[in-house]
C-alpha cells in the first residue's frame, strides 16, 4: 500500500493538521512503510471472528442521570488561551 502526496494532504486536512510541501512527501513515505507493516494482517483468516471491543468484554457501566459536579467553569477557564465573560474566544466565524 503506497500513499501519494495528495493522499497525505487529504488525511492532514481531515486531521486538522497543516503540512508544508516537503513534510507531505516525507509522511507519504513513512505512512506507506507503516501500512506495509499493517498489511501483514491480511494473512490472518478472521472469518466469523467477533471483533474485540474491550479487553475484558465488559459492558459499558451506566450511572443514574444525576448532577454530580458543581459549576467549575471559572476554574477550568483559568487555563484557556482566551476567554471573555465565561466564553471561549476564537476568531470570528460569522461575518
Amino acid at each position: 500500500m503506497s500513499l501519494q502526496h495528495s493522499d497525505v494532504e487529504k488525511i492532514a486536512r481531515l486531521a486538522h493538521l497543516a503540512l508544508n510541501g516537503d513534510e507531505a512527501d516525507a509522511y507519504a513515505t513513512e505512512l506507506s512503510g507503516i501500512l506495509d507493516l499493517v498489511a501483514q494482517m491480511e494473512r490472518a483468516d478472521t472469518t466469523g471472528v467477533t471483533p474485540m471491543a474491550h479487553p475484558l468484554d465488559m459492558p459499558q457501566r451506566l450511572r443514574p442521570d444525576e448532577v454530580t459536579e458543581g459549576d467549575r467553569r471559572d476554574f477550568y477557564q483559568a487555563i484557556a488561551p482566551a476567554t471573555e465573560r465565561g466564553l471561549y474566544l476564537v476568531p470570528k466565524v460569522i461575518d
Binding site: 500513499l3 493522499d7 497525505v8 488525511i11 492532514a12 481531515l14 486531521a15 486538522h16 493538521l17 497543516a18 503540512l19 509522511y27 513513512e30 505512512l31 512503510g33 507503516i34 506495509d36 507493516l37 499493517v38 498489511a39 501483514q40 494482517m41 491480511e42 494473512r43 490472518a44 478472521t46 471472528v49 467477533t50 471483533p51 474485540m52 471491543a53 474491550h54 479487553p55 475484558l56 465488559m58 459499558q60 457501566r61 450511572r63 467549575r72 476554574f75 477550568y76 483559568a78 487555563i79 484557556a80 488561551p81 482566551a82 471561549y88 476564537v90 476568531p91 470570528k92 466565524v93
Partner: protein, 484 residues
Amino acid sequence: MHQFSLARLAAGLAAGEFSSRELTAHFLDRIERHDPRLNAFVTVTRDAALAQAGAADARLRAGEAGPLTGIPLAHKDIFCTEGVRTSCASRMLDGFTAPYDATVVERLKAAGMVMLGKTNMDEFAMGSSSETSWYGPVKNPWDPARVPGGSSGGSAAAVAARLAPAATGTDTGGSIRQPAALCGLSGLKPTYGRVSRWGMIAFASSLDQGGPMARSAEDLALLLPAMAGFDERDSTSSPEPVPDYPAQLDEDVKGLRVGLPREWFREGLDAGVAASIEEARRVLEGLGVVFRDIDLPNSALAVPAYYVVAPAECSSNLARYDGVRYGYRCEAPRDLEDLYRRSRSEAFGAEVKRRIMMGTYVLSAGYYDAYYLKAQKIRRLIADDFRAAFAEVDLILGPTSPTRAFRLGEKTADPVTMYLSDIYTIAVNLAGLPGLTVPAPMAGGLPVGLQLVGDYFQEGRLLNLAHRLQRTTDWHLATPPGFD
C-alpha cells in the same frame, strides 16, 4: 538511603532513623546533582515535596502512617497533578497546569507518598525510546549514549539512577516494561481496568494502563495496592477487589507451570538477551518451576494490529487539542480552521502527527472494515491464544525486549524499526493481560529484562514468582556506575 528498598525506607521512617524531610531532601539533592546528565525530570517540585514530607512526618509522629507514608516518588508527566505543570512532554501542554489530580496521584498522595517531580517521556507516550519529548531525549544511566527505552523512560532512568525510590508509568504497548527492562528495573503493567485511567492523559484508551516502576517485585507489590482499585470516574475501571499482594510474595512456587512461547524465542531475538533469559529460567527451574513450550500462533500479528488500533484511538483522543480550551494556541490565526491547523501542527511533534494521520486514515470512509475492524478481530485471535495457553500453564515467560538498550538516534530514521522494539509486549496490551518485567543477568554491561505474563487479575502470582527469583539472585540490585 537511596539504595534502600521501600520496606527498608518505611522501617527507617517508622523507627525515626531519618525523617521524610531528610529523605526527600536527599533525593532532591541527587536529582539536582545527577539529572542534568540524564534529563529524566521535566519538573522538580522541591518546595511542594518538602511540604508534603513535613506533613508525612507529622502523620508518622501521630502514629497514622501507612506502609508508604513519607516515601518519595516521581510521577510520569502523563498523570495530571493539581497546580503542577502536566506537559505529556509535548509543546501542546508545555504551559498546561492540571486543574485536578489523577486518581493514581490522589491515591498515592493519600497514602502519604511525597512527589519529587514529573518525569520525561516520549511525547504523549508515543515512542519506545523517550527521544520524542519536547524537552529533549532521556539518557540511559547505564550508558548515556543509549536510550532508556520508552515511553516511560524518564521514570525508568530516575529510578535506575537512584534519583527516586519508585515512579509511576503507563503502558499502552510496553511503555512500562520495555524502559524498565532497558534500565534494569522491575515494572508492572496491571490488567486493563485494574488501575484507574482518570486524569491519565489518554493515548489509546482501550490499551492504556498505569502501573508502578521500582527496583524490586517487593517494592511493586507495596505500590500496587495503593494505586489499584475501582474508580467511578473511569468507565472501564474494574470492580474486582484488590488482593493483598505483599502477603502473596513468599508463596511457594514449586510445581508452578510456566509456558515458554516458541514464537518469542525465534529470529530477531538478540543472542545476549536469549542467553540471559535462559540463565534466569534455570534458576527458576531450581526453585521447582516446571517449564513447557507453548504456542501463541498469532504473535506476529500483534504489532501490525496494534499500529491500527493505537493510532486510531490516538487520532480520536488527540482531537481535543484544538487551541481553544487549553493548551498551545498559534499566533494571530486568520480564522477558526487556521487556528486549529496551525495550533496542532506547531505544537505536535513528528511522531504524534504521524500517528494522528495514520489513525485518521484507517478510520476514514471506506477503510474502516479493512483496517480497524480487521485489527479488532485479530485482537480477539491474540486474546484467544493466551486463553488457550492459560488452560495449560499458570504463567508465561519470555524476553521483555528483543534487544538491550540501543543508541540514541539509532532507530529514529525509520518508524517501523522503532515499532518492532515492542514485539513481545504489545500482544499483552491487546489482550488486556497483566505483564511484569524483572532484571535477568546483565549482558555486555547492559540490563536485560525478563517478562512474565499472567491471566487476568493474576498480578499477585506474577509478583510472587518475580520475588522468589529476586530472593535467590542479586541481578535486580545492580546500580549503574557513578550512581551508587
